[in-house]
């Protein structure tokens, strides 16, 4: 599984904001923290505002802040705003004979993998992920 750039940027942004929900961050601050394109991130931020995951704050010191619930919002809640994570094995339009059996079998396996991916991402809340990060840092030599 490889996440699209928009999904990765959205995860960075929402998690960054959720790590300090009382603070506001500008797009430039988030982009600089993760070394990503500010232009691309700005588009992602607009989608996140529309989804209700973050909100924009106007005025001096304005920016964005997290507006969800870290104990309820999951990684999948963010990702599915940008992609469905359905495997595409690029099946030819017209199949015959054994090719139908082969493609059908591959579809079954891919559907199983897709379902597990989505379920895993939908079981990890932002709070849990942020805790994983702290625990990993604590274990680092």
């Amino acid at each position: 599984m490889k996440l699209q750039k928009a999904s990765r940027y959205a995860l960075y942004a929402v998690l960054h904001l959720a790590s300090e929900p009382e603070k506001q961050f500008s797009t430039a601050e988030v982009a600089e923290s993760y070394g990503v394109s500010i232009h691309h991130l700005a588009k992602v931020m607009r989608t996140l505002v529309r989804s209700g995951l973050i909100e924009s704050v106007r005025g001096v010191g304005g920016g964005y802040r997290f507006s969800g619930n870290v104990r309820r919002t999951t990684l999948w809640d963010i990702i599915h705003e940008f992609e469905s994570l359905e495997s595409d094995i690029d099946t030819p339009d017209e199949l015959q004979g054994n090719a139908i059996v082969v493609v059908s079998g591959l579809d079954t396996v891919m559907n199983e993998i897709d379902g597990l991916n989505r379920s895993t991402l939908d079981s990890i809340t932002l709070k849990t992920l942020l805790r994983y990060g702290v625990e990993n840092l604590d274990k680092a030599p």
């Binding site: 104990r71 309820r72 999951t74 379902g115 597990l116 379920s119 895993t120 939908d122 079981s123 990890i124 809340t125 709070k127 849990t128 805790r131």
Partner: protein
Amino acid sequence: MKRKKTATNVHVAEAADIHAVVALDAAITGTDKAAYWNDIFERFAGSNQRRKRYFLVAKSGDNELLGFIVGEIRAWEFGSPPCGWVLALSVSPDQRQQGIGTLLFEALCARMKHDGATTIRTMVLVNDKTNLSFFRGEGLAAGPYIELERRLD
């Protein structure tokens, strides 16, 4: 509307708790399983209880059932060394987000650790977001086993 409980006690289930356990499970799952829970009580906390089986309840100060957890340390099934299993965990829907599930889970972990378990695991429906998120939040992650099944018809 959540009613904040001032005190929560966790203790081994007693026969008098099972009626409330049956009612809570039925309210959550939509299926009344009185015979099942009475059997579980007998084997995990009642007269037929064996060692390393646990049936704990969380109750409010006024003796209301808030939740329950059932677990067992099992050895060598699926080739696994001794390991604690969470077999059931339920918290009353109007008492969630108050740490009751964590209280029950930690109480079970403490008993299992005392009895020699070094790992705890459970099995959760793939679309059961509530329980999956809860156990993830308690630090559980995918382990070395994968559940496989097929229909027999």
